[in-house]
Symmetry: C5
Subunit: 380 residues, 5 copies
Amino acid sequence: MTPALPLEEPDLFDYYYNPPGSAPGTLGIEPNAYPTEITLFDYGPEHFSRCERPVFQDCLAQVTCENSVTWVDAQGLGNQALLAELGRAFGLPALILEDMVNVPQRPKLEYHPHFVLITTQIVMARPKKGFWTEQISFVLGKNYLVTLQEEPTRDPFEPIRQRLAQNVGAIRSQGADYLCYALIDAIVDNYFPVLETYGDRLEDLEDEAIERPTEATLQAIYRLRRELLALRRNIWPQREVFNALIRDKSDFITPEVLNYLRDCYDHAIQIIDVIETYRELGSSLTDVYLSVMSHKLNEVMKVLTIISTVFIPLTFIAGIYGMNFNPESSPFNMPELNWYWGYFICLGVMIVITLFQLYVFWRRGWFHRNKILARRPSDP
Amino acid sequence: MTPALPLEEPDLFDYYYNPPGSAPGTLGIEPNAYPTEITLFDYGPEHFSRCERPVFQDCLAQVTCENSVTWVDAQGLGNQALLAELGRAFGLPALILEDMVNVPQRPKLEYHPHFVLITTQIVMARPKKGFWTEQISFVLGKNYLVTLQEEPTRDPFEPIRQRLAQNVGAIRSQGADYLCYALIDAIVDNYFPVLETYGDRLEDLEDEAIERPTEATLQAIYRLRRELLALRRNIWPQREVFNALIRDKSDFITPEVLNYLRDCYDHAIQIIDVIETYRELGSSLTDVYLSVMSHKLNEVMKVLTIISTVFIPLTFIAGIYGMNFNPESSPFNMPELNWYWGYFICLGVMIVITLFQLYVFWRRGWFHRNKILARRPSDP
Amino acid sequence: MTPALPLEEPDLFDYYYNPPGSAPGTLGIEPNAYPTEITLFDYGPEHFSRCERPVFQDCLAQVTCENSVTWVDAQGLGNQALLAELGRAFGLPALILEDMVNVPQRPKLEYHPHFVLITTQIVMARPKKGFWTEQISFVLGKNYLVTLQEEPTRDPFEPIRQRLAQNVGAIRSQGADYLCYALIDAIVDNYFPVLETYGDRLEDLEDEAIERPTEATLQAIYRLRRELLALRRNIWPQREVFNALIRDKSDFITPEVLNYLRDCYDHAIQIIDVIETYRELGSSLTDVYLSVMSHKLNEVMKVLTIISTVFIPLTFIAGIYGMNFNPESSPFNMPELNWYWGYFICLGVMIVITLFQLYVFWRRGWFHRNKILARRPSDP
Amino acid sequence: MTPALPLEEPDLFDYYYNPPGSAPGTLGIEPNAYPTEITLFDYGPEHFSRCERPVFQDCLAQVTCENSVTWVDAQGLGNQALLAELGRAFGLPALILEDMVNVPQRPKLEYHPHFVLITTQIVMARPKKGFWTEQISFVLGKNYLVTLQEEPTRDPFEPIRQRLAQNVGAIRSQGADYLCYALIDAIVDNYFPVLETYGDRLEDLEDEAIERPTEATLQAIYRLRRELLALRRNIWPQREVFNALIRDKSDFITPEVLNYLRDCYDHAIQIIDVIETYRELGSSLTDVYLSVMSHKLNEVMKVLTIISTVFIPLTFIAGIYGMNFNPESSPFNMPELNWYWGYFICLGVMIVITLFQLYVFWRRGWFHRNKILARRPSDP
Amino acid sequence: MTPALPLEEPDLFDYYYNPPGSAPGTLGIEPNAYPTEITLFDYGPEHFSRCERPVFQDCLAQVTCENSVTWVDAQGLGNQALLAELGRAFGLPALILEDMVNVPQRPKLEYHPHFVLITTQIVMARPKKGFWTEQISFVLGKNYLVTLQEEPTRDPFEPIRQRLAQNVGAIRSQGADYLCYALIDAIVDNYFPVLETYGDRLEDLEDEAIERPTEATLQAIYRLRRELLALRRNIWPQREVFNALIRDKSDFITPEVLNYLRDCYDHAIQIIDVIETYRELGSSLTDVYLSVMSHKLNEVMKVLTIISTVFIPLTFIAGIYGMNFNPESSPFNMPELNWYWGYFICLGVMIVITLFQLYVFWRRGWFHRNKILARRPSDP
């Protein structure tokens, strides 16, 4: 995610990888990454302080303090020196820091003696543009939490910073694990509005595929399926991470917070349920589209067939009487041309043939135009 | 589910979610929710009392009584104060109450020290409209049961209230767990009539797709598949809940009632079996529809081709003798026009060509109209 | 299954269910069910007795006898009083009797202190009509076996009754578990002729789809897939039942009979294998059918195109010389009409155009009629 | 498999089953089965003897000998008496002998106190005919091995008999379990040439479907998919058998031979991998075929449309000037017919119309013939 | 992989197998295999030596040395004697050497008392040609590592050899297990550029299928799906190997290196995720292609239908007035021909008919050309 082109279509292949053969622990700083900005929150039931661009020596002194929780809220991956300093300050091994900085990674959970590392993805809806993802890493220690996001501009955490500052709810009287849960909960809840836009798009596409399918309809269905695949690839490993968190019972997370995390896990399952349902619907919408197209072809061919089969025999009869056989050479050469009622009989025969054909078509039901149901059948 | 539009098509996305970042335990009261109504049943082998709009202090006194079962039957989610009072009276944590009130949730089971929470969905058939769902939560304690439904108007529990009042069967001599089972059993059995309507709709669509497919047929198939997906998303987590109930052997459920619950579980499996079968049939019906459409196109094209190929050569011959080459300039210029039998020979040639073409088409089987089987092949 | 319409098409939805909210243990007697008939077999290595319409008091005296096996062979679900008496005589709880009488149920296995309950389905081939199912329940006690079938008319057990009466093989010297195995084995082996008819139907449909596909072909393929789905829904839970029987090592089944039951389990797996293969073949036959249809459309369109493109230019030329431009007004007005060889040159040009077009079509391979392989490619 | 028609197409349904209700242990001897031929090999590091049509009393004396391995190599299922004698000689229970003789059975593994029974299938490639299967059973005892094949004519074991006779490699110094492994290894390795022919056929079908698809192409694809399904049904249970052999650690197989069997298991996994890949490719080839067909239809329709739309307006113009309105009745009646340049102006208008239409078609790219890639794109 | 045709399309069937029945441990040396070249690296924190074409006696003396790691880097499978000598020098059993030399094998992991054998595949991107695979085997002992590759020319290990020679990072101070990890990591990371080319090809095919689909498009989609299947068959067993390595905790791998291997495993999972997503997209691209083709057919048919239905009635009218009914025989024979305004009225009727038809087509939307979206809808 770069500031220059923040809304462009993500590539199909979007994992970060170091050049094969490079030593482990290499930090891949992209040239157009956001500059790193770090904010430090320190709070307890009774106190709250917020410090931007902190000096880490001061911070670490606070981390050692027992009845105080420290949240290092880092954003932007552009400043290698600052990130390395952050890593040293909190004792993060090189491989860990690499996973936090070389984005995107598959969401994962790793236990370390002094902390737990959770790497996951934030998903945010973009108006008319599917969604936008960014990586976030959590380093959860005994009474501190370090978070590292890709970008400083968009995140769903502002309500939580406000709850911290204004001491809303129980958040200030709880530990770092509760803060971590609150952030993860915000990430998971953020999927729901994204899914809601997909549900709306799917319903629009249903209407479009049935009422006015164009070539763009199938492209849109294809695009939707592609985005849902990406979304599934995103939430699926998060579900595994939450499951591992709940099951493994780490020292850094109290049983009470585990209970809250179970809620996050339930939500992740809900999200996967919805995505799978949407994917199946997207797949059967393709069938609907193809059948509507084939129905339209049928209609076009019917028009051609009716017009052709009605007029071709008539034109043949007109052609017969346009022949120049010489009535004077023989009494058998087209005597009809000289009959008194010849022309009217000829027209009469044509009318009879036409009526007969129209009757046959009517019997076959070719004039019965299938009304396209403009509204869904279960509407009132 | 709102009283204003109770029968409208449910949206594709139908899970409740709080705004991301909001504190856990927030009750989301929808403005048009039904007002909360609470009825209290208290019964034992020998006594039965029913009290509407109870004062909770009185109720809780009864709950403590050993040989009496209390059922708090709450309906409607519109009254936040009353719901909060209910929660306090039975000691429900904020997170639990949130799950009961913020509907719909994915069905789930949670064990707590003093009670078990079961959240599930009631499914009821709607005439011609698929089905209608509503959430119900069970809080099952030692000798009490609290149920909370979305709406007061429709539920499948009336027969159970009557069995309680009239002391039919063993229900009055059993504990709260048996009451809970009886309610769950009614919920599960309620799926069967819903499935029966789907079976009927599928059979109607079979006939329609084969005999008189219109564009609306495929829409109806698509709609059916969409509703079956929704139904599966509904029953699947219920199965998990029943399985967990049976496997986990909680203190609040006696072995005898567990045996009954195994029956519910068997029924849930049956329901899933049927849904999966229906979904596969719906998918292969789409193939049938597409093939019938392509068969119809074939028929239309055959008509066009027969008429065109018969008359186009004849029209050409008529065109030949409509040319104005001057027989007087040369004896080789269209002498046929002056032949004695010229006209009849010309007509004869046309008839021969026509018969030959008709013979060729007959040999290719183009006149063999495939009868559409109006009845299913295994009917008598 | 009713005697009045024994061969009608089964409905898609075919599970029994009580009205939601009814008390457990309710026996659902259908008005047109067969009257219940009970036969009692009592046998040991040395003795064999058969008694129709037994008085149960006498029977139960025999059950207590150690070296004698009692088989209560009940058929027909029409007589509620008799069924209830049977239940009381063998101490069957209400819920068990309900599962035995309210048919059909999903096959299942339940352990009880004094007996094992096995509920399963008998499948029998019907000439040209798919298959026909009926429920059978086994109550296997220490030295007795109670079986309850839906109908007295059709079952695959006659050879076993004869082996009992005539003391063929080891059956008289074995216990009730061996009898139970022998009956189950007959049920499982009964699937094979059913599958064989499906294999034959599938091969006929293969030939039909390739050689002479009509609209009825696809209906037949669809019907086959629907019946195979029903068959799979039938055998799949039976496999689970056999697996549970083998794995759980109940007291009522000796290790030797367990060995025999392993054979039944192997056969059930074989049956599922075959059904899955047939289902995949049915699905790819649909592709073959659609492609043959599209091939036929291609052939029809080729005929139309050849005839049209050959004759349309010729007709145009004839039209040219049918125009009435007045050669007398100007020497440039259609002087060809007065040429000495005009008519023959005109015909010659037409022949050249025709030959050129036919050559082009021949080069494109449009005259190469694809022979339809009447025989399968691997036939000799 | 019968000698009379050894190469015929196998039926879809090909499992053996006894009539339902028959006693277990019934031997089903087919009338045209091969006569049974038995060869006895007896060998050790130092000695080797081969005896055809052995007398079993002599053989069994040798079996008791400790440092000697006996291989009873029986082929053909036609001689019931001889097979029964073989069964008695090696103490095989009736149910075991039934599984060995009533072919084909699903591959399986059974442990018995004195031996292990392995039933599996030999698969051999047939020129142009898919493959041919035959059942083989292994009865592996402490120092003897009994094998029973369906037919004496074709098996992949000749190289092993030669290695035994010529004392090549370690085979003579190993036990009966090693011999059993060597035979199983030959069976598994025999799949590879079969798969190779399928790979070749699939590549030929790829070329055919793209370059010159006929109706026979899809039949061949369908046939290939059908045969791959049969092959998978064949190897899949063998994989289970090998897995059980490795996992269960029987007394009859030394750890060293278990190591070798692990190799067989790896090969079975490889074979399943390849079959699954081929099946997916076969399925997507159907898509390619259908799309090539639809492309051909497009081409045919384009030819028709170009010819028709070019000539139909021209023919209309010619028709106009073929009308007989009388120029003498009115100066407005077709005065063009008498113009000096009338005919040439008319022809000129026709040429202009034609060129315009051809330009429009050229702009739409209808003359751009899509070259069919005759070679695969990744070829050099 | 042979030097003569290094870039040719790999066959569908590409596993090595010995002729059925051959003794285990046979080395299959292909005639055109690369000659074997062996390089020996010996290093520790303080020393580094590199020796080409080593004499093994010298080498093995070094292997015994405790604080030194030996890497025998063998490439090419052409020299049977040298490979056998290598096997003897490091005590490799015949079956192991066979797996290393008879390529390709399915990736696998085997534990032996003195070493671990890891067999896997190197995948390298080829320009425009999919990818190219080669087998590599690792024999990891206490302080030595033997690797055997198919070819000396292409491998991703050059950066590692340089890191060794130049003492970059921690590699010289770690054991043989770390070297093994570094090589495996390079192999896994090598998949990412391959996947990236597939992502690009898929995006190109998306554009092509929507904007300018030709027959070659579907072939390219088919080819892509075939190559992704091959890639999946390649990475899937590697994932299993890594999983087994991590889970089984061998003596030859320190916990620290296990941690690093967990990273390789995570990457393998990522790769499989991406491949599965690409495969689903490839499958739905086929739908898009078919629908675009059917849309094009619709467009062609519309042109034909518009032209035909406009001109056919007009030509019929012109034909009528080209008939030669004799106006002199009767006043009813085509008096229009002599009307003063006859010709103009006739033309006027034709114009009215044409305008009416065009209006009808316009109302049906046939002139509304569906613009093909040239750019993807979510582009800015």
